[in-house]
């Protein structure tokens, strides 16, 4: 049923349709609306049997999910940013134990400086943890991906993280075609774990593994992620058959058939990119878009197949590895190895800075002229950066630059505030 609904609410109601059995909750913006809504449904008895546990930290949230999943319950939680980093040790552990936990990651920047707005630094920080990471472009896809995530996780015994842009998606109210219980029940069978904590057939789970087998264990985890590359399209196809809607899969393409330039991105910014691409197309440029849905496992072959015909690939990503450059761009450069395709990496939208259609049009025009540098930071205020660099040269001192920059910007909206030098 099509409803005008907040992204968080759509996800919460969809998760509820998946019949979670243990939900652990710790508040952090911008994820909080999701677990609040699930919490109401559990407390009212609507979701029985389901336990909603208000934990004391994200580390505990993932740990409770680990215990619940190992004991055979379908476990769910959600987090963002600092919360994900605080649970990092347990995030790795859940994957290592092969527990099919599903977690929503409402993507948000990581401090310092503290920042609650959207970028993908949090997801990138755990890309090597062994979780499957799926990125939603829209709230419709965010909702749909959760249903697919539970099935994928439980088929493969691998935890799945559904990434949706904080605020941009979580707090946006838009039309979402909500699934009904019978459709979800038919698509998602009850969780039947391969190995479970059962007093009647006791097993030891989480034993120490030394050098004699650790590499094999890790390699098997890698193979299971590669298996996911096969399962993700199959599950997306089954979902389409059940709902009549295309959602998920390894990647999505838009106007790529004859494209000389292909723009690659993750998440909600794909919408703005498509608008800018439409305008460039009207001007006669052969430009298209690829959205990566499955970031981990990374679909090397599918990406290579769709990009190899292009002359230039422009990666726009909301995260980067400090001291190195783009993260997604690095993966793509490997996928494009041996082709004639030029790769351009653009870092944009950090800490919630808007990525506007106009800025993207300019960017694509620069790219079309062959003038885009290998690594670009979109809309960077070079004046601010230069002033701070000069200060650092003049007086050698340690400490944060954020406060200096704020003084430069003189907080224009704080009318009446006394100016300090």
């Amino acid at each position: 049923m099509l409803r005008q609904i907040e992204g968080s609410r759509a996800v919460a109601e969809t998760v509820a349709l998946c019949r979670p059995e243990v939900v652990c909750a710790y508040p952090i913006s911008p994820q909080t609306h999701i677990i609040e809504a699930v919490g109401v449904m559990v407390k009212s008895g609507e979701l029985a049997p389901c336990e909603f546990i208000n934990v004391e930290s994200e580390f505990a949230a993932m740990s409770v999910a680990i215990g619940a999943s190992a004991a055979g319950a379908r476990a769910y939680t959600a987090t963002s940013s600092q919360g994900l980093l605080f649970m990092m040790e347990a995030v790795y552990n859940a994957a290592g134990l092969g527990l099919p936990i599903v977690m929503t990651l409402a993507n948000r920047a990581i401090g310092a400086p503290i920042n609650i707005w959207n970028d993908h630094s949090d997801a990138m920080a755990v890309r090597d943890a062994g979780w499957i990471q799926l990125f939603a472009e829209t709230n419709q896809e965010a909702a749909d991906l959760h249903v697919q995530a539970f099935r994928l996780a439980e088929e493969l015994s691998v935890p799945v993280m559904v990434c949706m842009d904080g605020f941009i998606l979580t707090h946006a109210v838009e039309g979402v075609d909500m699934l009904d219980q019978s459709t979800v029940d038919a698509f998602l069978p009850p969780y039947e774990p391969r190995q479970v904590l059962d007093p009647d057939s006791p097993v030891s789970i989480g034993a120490m593994v030394g050098p004699e087998a650790f590499e094999e264990v890790r390699y098997l985890a890698h193979l299971r992620q590669l298996d996911a590359l096969d399962r993700i399209p199959v599950i997306a196809a089954a979902f389409e058959e059940a709902t009549g809607r295309r959602s998920g899969g390894l990647l999505s393409t838009y106007r790529t058939d004859d494209a000389e330039t292909i723009v690659v991105a993750l998440g909600s910014v794909l919408g703005t990119i498509k608008d800018a691409v439409d305008i460039r197309r009207e001007a006669g440029e052969r430009i298209g878009v690829v959205g990566i849905t499955s970031f981990r496992p990374f679909p090397f072959q599918a990406v290579r197949d769709v990009l190899c015909g292009a002359r230039q690939v422009v990666v726009i990503e909301k995260a980067f590895s400090i001291g190195f450059g783009g993260v997604l761009a690095t993966d793509l450069s490997l996928a494009l190895h041996g082709t004639d395709c030029t790769l351009r990496s653009v870092v944009a939208g950090l800490g919630g800075r808007s990525i506007t259609r106009l800025a993207l049009e300019d960017l694509f025009a620069t790219a079309a002229r062959g003038q885009l540098e290998a690594l670009t930071f979109l809309d960077l205020d070079h004046g601010v950066v230069e002033r701070e660099r000069e200060r650092m040269m003049a007086t050698r001192r340690s400490g944060p630059s954020a406060e200096n920059i704020l003084r430069d910007l003189k907080a224009p909206r704080r009318v009446g505030a006394k100016e300090k030098s």
Binding site: I53, S63, L197
Partner: protein, 341 residues
């Protein structure tokens, strides 16, 4: 019906053989049908107090739950020596996740058992003192305040022994560890620091908090059984001497644990809903020197020039415990263990 008082022959230990007790009073370990939760073949050091404590505690919990139990283990000695790949000493359902999250993992297992319609399956979580008072404390306090149905057992050997004997917040004053070495003007661990976890647990008003030592295993078993009679969060703090970390003879583990209790340095008691309900009285008041002098971690107190002022400060701690818990009464000497109904 005539009654005959049980006579305790083993005067040195006050322990009594199971042969002399009625069936109902015999230890779980004396029962051929005990669970053997942690079986032989593990790699604990000779004289390990933790291995002994875990065996008695878990077998007692298994009997109390009719075998319907899952154990969650924090990282540490117990986890490492019991599961060297590809072997396991555990004959019960057992889960290890991380160092600091055992209470939360146990909460998750307990919640899963409820939703799966198996509320009879009980959960015991266990950790060393590092996993309890330090890195696991946040999760433990959360589990306590939510009153999750978990018995949490701390095997307290007063330091990070698995990593090579470093100080924890359970390391006592003056004790030498690798990070509180016996050097400088105030050798060993500082005075005035550390966490008293049983009292912190009581402050959460949970149903049951108790302490025990491996010197009185009958008492330890009784406390585990008592703990399993409650639903909700429960806490059992067991003093387990560590020959490696304490620098004690491996055949002195029981002796040292007994001295910890008899000096008053380790008060043995039970509390329900935040109130102390019973204490194990000191039978033969013992000066702390007797306890300290047989452990190399305190060797710096007994050199050519004994540090009498430091020993006096430790004695003061024992005296304060004796007063706080009323560990000595007029009838103390010769008192018998009170078995809780």
């Amino acid at each position: 019906m005539t009654t005959r008082p049980v006579r305790f022959y083993q005067v040195g230990s006050f322990a009594v053989g199971n042969r002399l007790l009625e069936d109902g009073d015999r230890t779980v370990q004396s029962d051929l049908n005990r669970a053997n939760s942690i079986d032989s073949g593990h790699r604990a050091c000779q004289g390990c107090g933790e291995a002994l404590g875990a065996r008695y505690a878990l077998d007692a919990a298994m009997r109390a739950t009719n075998g319907q139990m899952v154990a969650v283990n924090a990282t540490g000695c117990l986890e490492v020596f019991s599961t060297p790949y590809p072997e396991t000493s555990w004959r019960i359902a057992w889960l290890h996740s991380l160092f600091g999250n055992a209470p939360a993992v146990a909460t998750g297992v307990s919640a899963a058992m409820r939703v799966k319609g198996k509320p009879e399956v009980r959960v015991v979580a266990q950790a060393g003192d590092g996993g309890t008072v330090d890195i696991g404390f946040g999760c433990l306090s959360g589990m306590f305040e939510r009153n999750d149905d978990v018995l949490f057992i701390c095997y307290d050997n007063e330091g990070y022994m698995n990593t090579g004997v470093q100080r924890s917040a359970a390391t006592p004053p003056a004790a030498r560890t690798a990070t509180t070495d016996a050097v400088g003007p105030e050798p060993g661990n500082a005075f005035g620091q550390g966490k008293d976890l049983p009292r912190l647990a009581m402050a959460h008003d949970i149903a049951y908090v108790a302490t025990a030592t491996v010197a009185d295993l009958h008492d330890l078993e009784a406390k585990v059984e008592r703990a399993m009679q409650f639903r909700g969060a429960r806490y059992l703090h067991i003093l387990v001497p560590c020959p490696l970390g304490w620098g004690s003879a491996s055949d002195d583990t029981i002796h040292i644990a007994r001295l910890a209790k008899e000096t008053g340095l380790f008060p043995v008691f039970e509390a329900e809903y935040g109130k102390v309900t019973s204490v194990s009285h000191i039978r033969r008041r013992t000066p702390v020197e007797e306890y300290l002098s047989i452990q190399r971690r305190y060797a710096h107190l007994f050199g050519k020039k004994p540090r009498t002022e430091v020993i006096a400060r430790i004695q003061a701690i024992a005296d304060r415990n004796i007063e706080r818990y009323g560990l000595i009464t007029d009838e103390t000497v010769g008192a018998t263990r009170e078995v809780t109904a």
